[in-house]
């Protein structure tokens, strides 16, 4: 897979970019033993996802799901964030690359900035805010967005009055931390890494130069990304639905699809941007939710491409909820008096129409960022005809230059889950050549021996933070301190200007030791951001990190009661009293240590399973493939080519040979799974094969069980041999039973068994497959008449080019609606397909000597497997991932991952990248010899347990089981500490460490004693 490396490879990887793909790749690598340099061009990571309001199809709040990842990347000891930086050049070979990086000056010292915002508040210069797409203003001293990581301000020298005119310096004068440094210089860095991952994302298509979109002239024509900012609660209008022209609430909005996509006539792009149909539906639905009136939302489209997991349901639901869908491409937009807009269009039946809207949203496509294209050229990374980084279907994250990998929208337009999947895949591919360098450059935090404080009277130390003036400006910090000193068990009180600063941390460690403190309370900001930091401090002083509580007197006090200092001070005292009451009761918790068996089991020997196994082996892990069939290859055995035209059978033969030659892989053919015991790191699986039962111990499991093909009971399938499914056609061609050059008349019928009430999902691959087959027939016999009867052509991404090619070669496309399905009949010897043509408005009859049915991909609905691994199946029978956006190959059950069709229908290249992604996620477990589990888990007081079973019924993680006496027992390896069992038990047998009944009741008891 990778070239031979003579000396030991460098155990570090550079990830270029800061969006969700870059973050995921970095976290995977850093969690599996590699040091990561993350190079981001702007002042903070987060990428386009941080600008989105919601994410489809679940309408999760984008920032809410992103921000934990941002914090994790920002805090990770083995990720070095290099913001405001660009890669200049890469020299060397895979395993040992030298990267030149130019880091621009920020003019703010990252180590000193406390992100209080004083600089921005005092900065007199206001300029359009890029983060809000220019719809709002920011200052020249600014932070990219409120949740930015690193949460550090910067000075935009191009717009700064001091840099431009030599006077001002307001930010420096008012900075309480002395962080502003006008003398900072750009720096050139040279960084040595083993591999580079390009994850610099895309550029939203800019419709400004093109008069037909009228974007530049009419203020109420906005781009989709601008609309995201309008909808966002942190946007320029705080999430109120208004149009920019006059800030009035629109009552009628139109979305125009394919702006900058699927267009051959202008200087935009022939490819499909893959995500716009879904985001337009999402925006329309959310806008209707935000609207105070019954908003009229209309989407003008050519084909609705809702091909992903649960996308079709979202589309159907939007239709039911009143979003209008109009199949037409708008040809002109004109502005009416008052700022509203007139759209003129032609319906599918050819009628000219015009309709007025208050606002128009352009569903802009995705394109290659020209600066990133330059970078690709500099690095010698080839681009495809759409200018995205070129990859092939069997190595979907490798570029033309060994050692440089890609993921996310830089390698073609794609949505968040696919970007995250590719990010993990790129982490896997980039590290597979570096396995020998794993663990050589990472730092492990030093472990300080802990003092046993059990049995000691609580000695609580209270540290009250001023946070510059952020707290002290409102709350009387001295009064809080004096009050804290009077509280029971408090033996030490201190005030700090910045409790979180490194020097204070060092001092605190000394104080804890000197004063013999055994509990610590910090009154400062939020535990969500700072608890881990203070816990580390406590640990450094030799005290168990769970003997800590934080009183939030900034985010939830001084900042929100700024005009009532007296009440804010009282609240601070109350919160400190509650924290001390809780801390006094806290007990040291032990983190269970779990050993990890570095061995993997892959279930399924198709393309996903084999790729997973080979990548696991490349990472150095012993792997077992369990395949119930007697041969490997799965569905791919029936496929002719990929969308890029690569030969699947040739690839498959090579793949099987590689698996058979790999000494770390054992293949169990004709074998099924009977039982699974254990948990992450320590699974014990019973296999049943021809030779009887066998017990396999493994640390992780990868579910690659694939899916089946729907066998229809309509269109004369099974009655007339000329009617075949698309896999059967491929198989017949491969077997030599069908000669495409002898096909004179072929008709393909799409959505057979898909997008219907029984299977309300799109099978994703069939449109492309039929187009490929149609093209193959046309190539073998240019005279052949080929027709495709379809509902929406869903040739997403660069597959659109195949669709265009088919049209230009004379393949006829006839659309149908579900209530006017085509019919297949025989008349004498001839096979006829009758279809209702919506453009002609009448029935057409096509004669065929081959009818291809684009049949659905159906799930195996393997409930037995799902139960054994405690993983859920969704309503269509696909395995349900831990999170549809950000954990696409993980399960809520630790140590179990998935890839391929078991997740959802997908083309081969996505199955390969998903397999690599699953391996990357698995490597984050396998690369550790042991895992520490959080101490905040539930436990059962069996003296109170009656074995009623409520707790194990409600536990979302199946962490509670019955012991031999019928009583409940918690498996700490599975418990995530939600406490649902504690609140559900009638006997009060379960309790939650760290949030026990006593802890919470103690806080309630003292809450009102102030």
């Amino acid at each position: 897979m990778t070239q031979k490396i003579t000396s030991r490879p460098v155990g570090a990887v550079m990830v270029v970019g800061g969006g969700i793909a870059a973050i995921q790749a970095s976290l995977d690598l850093a969690d599996s033993g590699y040091y990561v340099y993350m190079v981001e061009k702007s002042s903070a990571i987060g990428g386009v996802m941080s600008q989105l309001d919601k994410t489809f199809p679940t309408n999760d709040c984008s920032m809410c799901i992103l921000s934990p990842k941002l914090v994790e990347a920002g805090r990770h000891p083995n990720i070095k964030l290099i913001t405001m930086a660009e890669v200049q050049d890469v020299q060397g070979a895979e395993g040992d690359l030298t990267v030149k990086v130019l880091q621009k000056a920020r003019y703010v010292d990252l180590n000193k900035c406390i992100a209080c915002g004083a600089c921005a508040a005092k900065c007199p210069k206001r300029i359009p805010d890029e983060f809000n797409q220019g719809l709002g203003k920011r200052k020249a001293a600014y932070v990219k967005y409120p949740q930015a990581v690193p949460l550090k301000y910067g000075i935009d020298a191009d717009n700064c009055i001091y840099f431009q005119k030599g006077k001002c310096k307001a930010c420096q004068k008012f900075c309480p931390a002395g962080a502003v440094d006008y003398d900072q210089q750009d720096q050139e860095l040279e960084i040595n890494v083993g591999a580079v991952i390009l994850a610099a994302g895309f550029k939203p298509y800019d419709p400004t130069p093109y008069p037909q979109y009228a974007y530049a002239n009419f203020p109420n024509v906005v781009t989709a990304l601008e609309f995201e900012r309008i909808l966002s609660a942190s946007g320029p209008w705080m999430g109120h639905l208004v149009r920019p022209g006059d800030e009035a609430e629109p009552k009628k909005i139109a979305w125009l699809q394919c702006v900058g996509s699927r267009d051959l006539n202008h200087c935009d792009h022939p490819y499909c941007s893959s995500v716009c149909c879904m985001y337009a539906i999402k925006e329309a639905v959310i806008a209707r939710e935000h609207s105070h009136t019954d908003l009229d939302a209309a989407i003008f489209f050519m084909d609705m491409r809702t091909y992903g997991k649960d996308f079709e349901r979202t589309y159907v639901k939007a239709q039911e909820d009143g979003v209008r869908f109009i199949r037409s491409r708008i040809h002109s937009i004109s502005e009416l008096e008052g700022g509203s807009l007139r759209l003129e269009y032609v319906t599918e039946k050819g009628q000219a129409k015009s309709e007025d809207f208050d606002m128009v949203v352009l569903s802009q496509g995705l394109e290659m960022n020209p600066e990133v294209a330059d970078l690709c050229r500099r690095l010698g990374v080839e681009q495809n005809q759409s200018r995205f980084a070129a990859t092939d279907s069997f190595a979907p994250v490798a570029t033309s230059r060994p050692g440089i990998y890609v993921c996310g929208a830089l390698a073609g337009p794609k949505d968040i889950p696919l970007s995250v999947m590719e990010a993990s895949a790129a982490a896997c591919a980039a590290s597979s050549g570096l396995a020998a360098g794993r663990g050589t450059l990472i730092t492990e935090p030093e472990k300080v021996p802990q003092r046993d404080v059990r049995g000691e009277t609580p000695r609580v130390g209270v540290f009250v933070c001023s946070c510059g003036i952020n707290i002290a400006g409102v709350v009387d910090v001295k009064a809080v301190m004096d009050y804290a000193a009077t509280l029971p068990n408090v033996v030490y009180v201190e005030n700090n200007l910045f409790t979180c600063s490194q020097d204070t941390q060092d001092k605190m460690t000394e104080v804890i030791k000197e004063q013999g403190l055994n509990r610590m309370v910090v009154a400062a900001c939020s535990p969500r951001t700072h608890e881990p930091l203070f816990q580390e401090t406590l640990q450094a002083a030799g005290i168990n990190k769970y003997l800590f509580d934080l009183a939030n007197i900034r985010n939830q006090d001084s900042w929100v009661h700024a005009d009532d200092p007296v009440a804010a001070t009282e609240k601070a005292k109350d919160q400190v009293r509650m924290a001390v009451a809780k801390a006094s009761l806290l007990e040291p918790l032990t983190e269970a240590k779990l050993s990890i068996l570095p061995k993997a089991m892959v279930i399924g020997g198709g393309v996903s399973g084999m790729n997973a196994a080979l990548n696991l082996a490349a990472q150095g892990y012993e792997t077992h493939i369990v395949e119930r069939d007697n041969a490997m290859g799965g569905n791919a055995r029936m496929l002719r080519t990929t969308a890029l035209g690569e030969d699947v059978q040739e690839y498959l033969t090579g793949l099987v040979a590689k698996v058979e030659a790999e000494p770390l892989i054992t293949v169990h053919l004709g074998t099924v799974i009977k039982n699974v015991d254990g948990f992450v790191g320590n699974f014990k699986t019973t296999l049943v094969g021809d030779s009887g039962e066998e017990l396999l111990e493994h640390g992780v499991a990868l579910i690659c069980t694939g899916a089946g093909e729907y066998k229809p009971a309509e269109y004369l399938y099974g009655q007339d041999p000329r009617v075949m499914t698309h896999l059967e056609i491929d198989q017949a061609v491969l077997g030599g039973e069908l000669d495409l050059s002898e096909v004179n008349k072929a008709v393909f019928i799409q959505c057979v068994g898909s997008r219907d009430p029984e299977r309300p999902y799109c099978s994703k691959v069939c449109c492309t497959h039929s187009v490929e087959s149609a093209l193959a027939i046309k190539e073998a016999n240019p005279e052949a008449q080929v027709a495709i009867i379809y509902r929406d052509m869903r040739t997403y991404g660069d597959r659109e080019r195949l669709y265009q090619q088919a049209r230009s070669k004379g393949v006829i496309f006839v659309r149908y609606d579900p209530d006017t399905k085509p019919e297949v009949v025989t008349e004498g010897d001839s096979l006829l397909v009758k279809a209702q043509d919506p453009i002609l408005g009448r029935t057409i009859v096509l004669e065929a000597d081959l009818v291809g049915l684009a049949t659905a991909i159906v799930s195996h609905k393997d409930e037995h497997l799902a139960q054994m691994f405690k993983i859920p199946l969704d309503q269509d029978g696909w395995f349900l991932e831990a999170h549809v956006k950000l954990r696409p190959v993980d399960f809520a059950t630790d140590g179990v991952f998935m890839a391929g069709l078991a997740h959802y229908p997908k083309p081969l290249e996505e199955a390969v990248s998903q397999a690599q992604a699953a391996v990357s996620r698995a490597a984050t477990v396998l690369s550790r010899t042991e895992m520490m589990l959080p101490g905040t888990v539930a436990w059962i007081d069996q003296r109170k347990c009656v074995g009623c079973g409520v707790c194990w019924t409600v536990c979302p993680f199946q962490a509670i089981t019955q012991d031999e006496n019928g009583l409940a027992v918690v498996n700490e390896a599975l418990c995530k500490g939600c406490g649902t069992c504690v609140a559900s038990c009638r006997s009060g047998a379960p309790n939650l460490r760290g949030f026990s009944n006593q802890d919470v009741l103690a806080q309630i008891s003292v809450m009102l004693q102030g």
Binding site: T58, D60, C61, S62, M63, C64, S67, P146, Q147, A233, S234, M238, G239, S526, P527, R528, T529, N552, R554, N555, Q556, D557, W559, V560, H561, A562, D563, D564, A567, A568, E570, K571, D574, Q575, M578, A892, T936, V954, P956, F957, K976, G977, C978, G979, T980, V982, A983, S984, L992, F995, N997, V1000, L1001, Q1003, I1004, S1005, M1007, L1008
Partner: protein, 146 residues
């Protein structure tokens, strides 16, 4: 009634760590102001909310209780918030039965990005409890008992 003389209710607030506590933090970052009438206890999940906590707060003299967690489907622990909702509906009926006005007990779903919603809900909760006046029904006052 002037601002100073208005009844100032005391409210116990229980926020789940992953959503509403984050929303409250973000309200701070955005400097969204609301009255200082509640004290916050952070819990891992609203699924952790034992009805006992609510009763204890009323017994200690709280005029209102506010529990807030993740939106349905967003729960960090899959479905803890749904268990909370179920328990809550029953408890609310019980409280009404023992003479605690339903408006003293509030439940909301606020995500970690909904700072404005947090601010608005905070104000609504405080105002609706304020309108009911002090709660003393469940306060065990030794002088009164004796």
């Amino acid at each position: 009634m002037s601002e100073e003389n208005k009844f100032q209710p005391r409210i116990a607030a229980f926020f789940c760590n992953w959503c509403t506590y984050g929303g409250a933090d973000l309200a701070g970052v955005s400097r969204l102001q609301y009255p200082p009438n509640f004290r916050v206890i952070r819990i891992p999940c609203t699924g952790r909310m034992s009805p006992k906590f609510i009763m204890q707060a009323f017994r200690q003299g709280a005029d209102g209780v506010w529990v807030s967690g993740c939106h349905p489907g967003d729960c960090h622990y899959i479905a803890g918030n749904m268990f909370a909702r179920r328990r809550f509906t029953i408890l609310k009926n019980l409280l009404e039965y023992v003479g605690i006005e339903p408006n003293r007990l509030h439940f909301s779903w606020i995500s970690s990005a909904e700072a404005t919603k947090f601010q608005q809900t905070a104000i609504e909760v405080i105002e609706s409890v304020r309108a009911l006046g002090p709660a003393s029904r469940m306060v065990k006052d030794i002088r009164r008992v004796a």
